[in-house]
Symmetry: C2
Subunit: 333 residues, 2 copies
Amino acid sequence: MNIIVDAMGGDHAPREIVDGAIQAVKEFDVCITLVGLEPQVRAELAKYDYPQDKIELIHAEDTIDMHDPATSSIRKKKNSSISVGINLLKESKKYHAFISAGNTGAVVCASTYFLGMLPGVERPAIGLAIPTLKKFAFLIDVGANTDPKPEHLLQSAIMAKVYAQKVMNINDPRIGLLNIGAEETKGTDFMKETHRLFLERLSNFAGNIEANEIFSGRCDCIICDGYVGNVVIKISESLMESALALVRREVKKNPVSMMGALLMKSCMKDIKKHADYSEYGGAPLLGVNGLVMISHGRSNAKAIKNAIRATIREVENNMIDHVIKEVTADEAR
Amino acid sequence: MNIIVDAMGGDHAPREIVDGAIQAVKEFDVCITLVGLEPQVRAELAKYDYPQDKIELIHAEDTIDMHDPATSSIRKKKNSSISVGINLLKESKKYHAFISAGNTGAVVCASTYFLGMLPGVERPAIGLAIPTLKKFAFLIDVGANTDPKPEHLLQSAIMAKVYAQKVMNINDPRIGLLNIGAEETKGTDFMKETHRLFLERLSNFAGNIEANEIFSGRCDCIICDGYVGNVVIKISESLMESALALVRREVKKNPVSMMGALLMKSCMKDIKKHADYSEYGGAPLLGVNGLVMISHGRSNAKAIKNAIRATIREVENNMIDHVIKEVTADEAR
């Protein structure tokens, strides 16, 4: 198996990306093809002792910044690590998947443009495994399609079901539609129409789920548009950080509290581990005709390694074939 | 000053409502008119020693449940505590405001229907003061209008500015538009159009704000549609609860951590106080022709008392007159 990794994507590229790739080839049965500025990537590789036959390096002379506009940068920078990597995936059966911690919009745009969509899927969607009080749940879409139609959400739901079953090992995933009320009469016209469509076409539909239930673990797959999903993950991330910042600030005011915090350190570590997004290390871009994984811009080596592990699971379980099968089955109804 | 309080609204009505009202008349220079089922409310009142001339009781024989459909329950239950209360506010200059911890949709519906809209405002919006790392910020709309037009968000922004200045004592509030990217080219077509309108018409516009900045305190007023705003507050509330549940579960596994948690107790109390939504006790329903405050369904006596305090501030500062002035000034441009 050979997975292409964008060596230039993310805040800590190429250092952490290369480190993560090397950890992965040592731990898993996988080859990695790094795409990026050759001198920089080679300099990073030189720091490590690793099985040379398991890491390949392909030069790409352009890089796309996190803040570059997505569509125009893909059009203008023909030789960006993102475009070169995705085209490799498209053109050679040797490669099985592409991972990037770079500009999300650019990855979505390049994937849609170069790989095309799967038959029966009209729009891409980004899914994310999020920790709940029970186990991980799968939230989709977290930012690819901000203006979806009800049909798009149905396609996302079907893809989410396959992902939960095949990659997250959830046998019979309960699918919830994120809405502002439990009743089917709640929400915008768009939500009501989507609800009706889900009732009609989705076998595991568990009804509406309100935002305050996301982390309860009641549903395994939570479906929403890319605008709301993006707000949900950004709020969650920042709220936990703000809460921790507040705790740190208050703890420092009082030596007794500081002692308490010290005693709680190992317990807090366990909690952090439980709530660690990097467990899955990446968010699959679903719907495009190829396996693409988007990692957080802040990804460290561990997150990259975990993204590679999750991607291996996708490849091994023939995610794409299963998605095609399920979407086609739905269309035949 | 006389404020009408829905004695039957909320999970702990009438007990906590009556308790909160009595605390308020003792602490503040205000009279309270309780509206609800007379025998039940009278039984609660009988438990306390309070200045009898400062609390009035008006009977309303219907009650609206938290799960009743908003529009039809207002239409069918003519004598609900919500409808009776709002009609009192409309019909007599003796009353200055209405507070309910009951069915939000029903309060929005009855307020819009009976009070009508302020000149220049087309749709109601619910604002909420939320704790940030710096001070409180004002998030609007958290659920009244889920399908707004750009003009509605502009009207909400103007009302938010007045609220921040007059009630929250923020002199020169920075107004942010909640979006999924900082650049004005980001987000849905609706967001881009709203951004353009804000640039053109809003003097304190600080540009887009992303969801992960809400709790940083960078903006004083955060404007969004009622669907997204509702998701934001429900996520925030439940995430903090889930995090605390997780900490409690993990702490119990280890006596050292338990000791640590014990030592941190007073510090955690300070934090909880800092992050306490009930500081403001209620969310003003802005845009309707009367002062209406919506309290959380779970409100306890303290939250009701605080809602009454915030409402007194609204009355004293002539919120409605200022909103009319600002909206009219915008229209004259």
